[in-house]
């Protein structure tokens, strides 16, 4: 199989989020910015939604820029391009 990245069902349009959990120190700023997509369980276990709905991009962006250790990476295939 030979496919193009932009035409694949494995990489649909929309948002992709990944957090470098090595960097994460559970400041929880993302949880306040986008509580439906990030949450801390226990003292510092971050659970996050790697594929949030596109209409939540403003909150995801708030989460990304607020992260004190800049651990959040967002790919947005739905905007621009």
């Amino acid at each position: 199989m030979s496919t193009r990245a932009d035409a694949s069902p494995g990489s649909p349009p929309g948002l992709r989020v990944s957090v470098d959990l090595n960097l994460c120190q559970a400041y929880a700023q993302c949880c306040y910015a986008a509580p439906r997509h990030f949450r801390i369980e226990g003292h510092e276990a971050l659970f996050y939604d790697p594929a949030p709905a596109a209409q939540d991009r403003d909150d995801i962006e708030r989460a990304r820029v607020a992260c004190p250790v800049q651990a959040i990476r967002v790919e947005d295939r739905g905007r621009g391009a």
């Binding site: 120190q25 400041y27 929880a28 700023q29 949880c31 306040y32 910015a33 509580p35 949450r39 403003d58 962006e61 708030r62 820029v65 607020a66 004190p68 250790v69 800049q70």
Partner: protein, 417 residues
């Protein structure tokens, strides 16, 4: 008579409008000893790297307050029996910004448990509504004072509603909060007059809070204070009355004395950068990045103090054990090795790890609230103020060097849209 130390220049009120040239001089030595009249001196960290390291260094303690020493009254019974007891209680129940783990962590976890995402989100929506109301009151005005008309009443109302303090008592605790905020200013700790005043203020506000806590026990509401007064965290942490009073005071003071500066500094910076103001007006989704840049460029809390528990080798110097440390957050934020062209206000910077909210264990509890309030205020001001012009630049500043911001920010406008 030697030149005044750079730290003295930081404290010097004349430098309040623009302390950044002094910070730049301090950055030439990443960590430097500054004369403060004592034998030990005060050590100042001024580069991003050294501040970030010291914030997370376990040998650096936040337990910086000297032992409580309440003023004597002349009444032997009070001075010999009540005073030592009260001093002891004060020392044991300091606010958690002046404490280290494990006590700090337990107290903070109780606050964080009540400072829930749901409560903060509710205040986010509330901030938008409050900003609308506050601007509505000035609809006919041709001049506003951004501090009195918006930047002060917004965070105060938010902290009152969130924490559960009657908003109508604001005239009472306004003065208390301003007085107690001086505890973050470096000289206040060694100044007996300020300490005596703070001690009396603490009694007054403590009495007020004690009454309020009893009220919250009798009639719990859906607010943070009711939660703290009545419920333990899942890990079983529940504050005793003295810790709860101290914590309540901290929340109230922090709500009064910091976000006001973020909003005011924000409007001031935007008025000095009209292109950015216009961009924000056109595209309010720029606000989150703009606010992070503001926290770098004009942080409301310019520095925090710490103390070393053991000697620390850093940046070619050895800070001795027991030394007073000033972490000059606002200077680290202008460190050009981390932020190219650091004196330029540029919301399009990427990946900035600013020090505006401090870092590590003592990272600002109220950060998310401050961000939402600033976003609500600044986007509304950008959208609604017609032809805003600064009346005085620089504006008059408040006394504080650590909690730094304009006392008033008068802006001429052609109206409010």
């Amino acid at each position: 008579m030697p030149d005044s130390s750079l730290l003295d220049q930081v404290k010097d009120f004349a430098n309040r409008p623009n302390p950044y040239p002094v910070y730049a001089k301090l950055r030439q030595n990443p960590v430097s000893r500054q004369d403060d009249g004592t034998a030990e001196g005060t050590w100042v960290a001024a580069t991003h790297g050294t501040i970030a390291r010291l914030l997370q260094d376990p040998r650096v303690s936040s337990d910086t307050l000297p032992p409580a020493d309440r003023p004597r009254t002349g009444n032997p019974l009070t001075d010999l029996i009540v005073k030592p007891l009260k001093d002891w209680m004060m020392d044991r129940h300091r606010v958690f910004i002046f404490r280290d783990p494990p006590d700090h962590d337990a107290l903070r976890s109780a606050v964080m448990h009540q400072f829930s995402c749901a409560r903060v989100q509710a205040m986010r929506a509330r901030s938008d509504a409050l900003v609308t109301d506050l601007l509505e009151e000035k609809r006919e005005a041709r001049e506003i004072d951004a501090v009195d008309d918006l930047a002060y009443p917004l965070p105060v109302t938010v902290i009152c509603e969130l924490f559960g303090v009657p908003r109508e008592d604001e005239p009472k605790f306004h003065g208390w909060a301003t007085q107690l905020a001086t505890a973050l200013e470096p000289d206040s700790l060694s100044n007996t007059e300020i300490r005596a005043k703070n001690s009396r203020t603490f009694d007054a506000i403590g009495g007020y809070m004690g009454d309020l806590i009893r009220e919250k026990r009798r009639h719990p509401r859906d607010d943070m204070l009711s939660g703290l007064a009545n419920h333990a965290t899942p890990a079983g942490v529940k504050m005793g009355d003295y810790d709860l009073i101290a914590t309540s005071i901290l929340m109230l003071v922090a709500g009064h004395e910091t976000t006001v500066n973020l909003i005011t500094n924000g409007l001031l910076t935007l008025l000095r950068h009209p292109d950015e103001l216009e961009r924000l007006r056109q595209d309010p989704t720029r606000a989150p990045r703009l606010i992070e840049e503001l926290l770098r460029y004009e942080p409301p809390v310019q520095f925090r103090t710490r103390r070393t528990l053991s000697a620390i080798d850093i940046a070619g110097v050895t800070v001795p054990e027991g030394a007073d440390l000033v972490l000059l957050l606002a200077a680290g934020n202008r460190d050009e090795s981390v932020f190219p062209d650091p004196d330029r206000f540029d919301p399009d910077r990427t990946g900035t790890r600013h020090l505006g909210f401090g870092g590590s264990l003592h990272y600002c509890v109220g950060a998310p609230l401050a961000r939402f309030e600033a976003e609500a205020a600044l986007t509304a001001l950008a959208r609604r103020l017609k032809a805003p012009r600064l009346i005085a630049d620089p504006p008059p500043y408040r006394q504080g060097a650590a909690l730094r911001g304009p006392e008033h920010l008068r802006v001429a406008i052609d109206g409010i849209a």
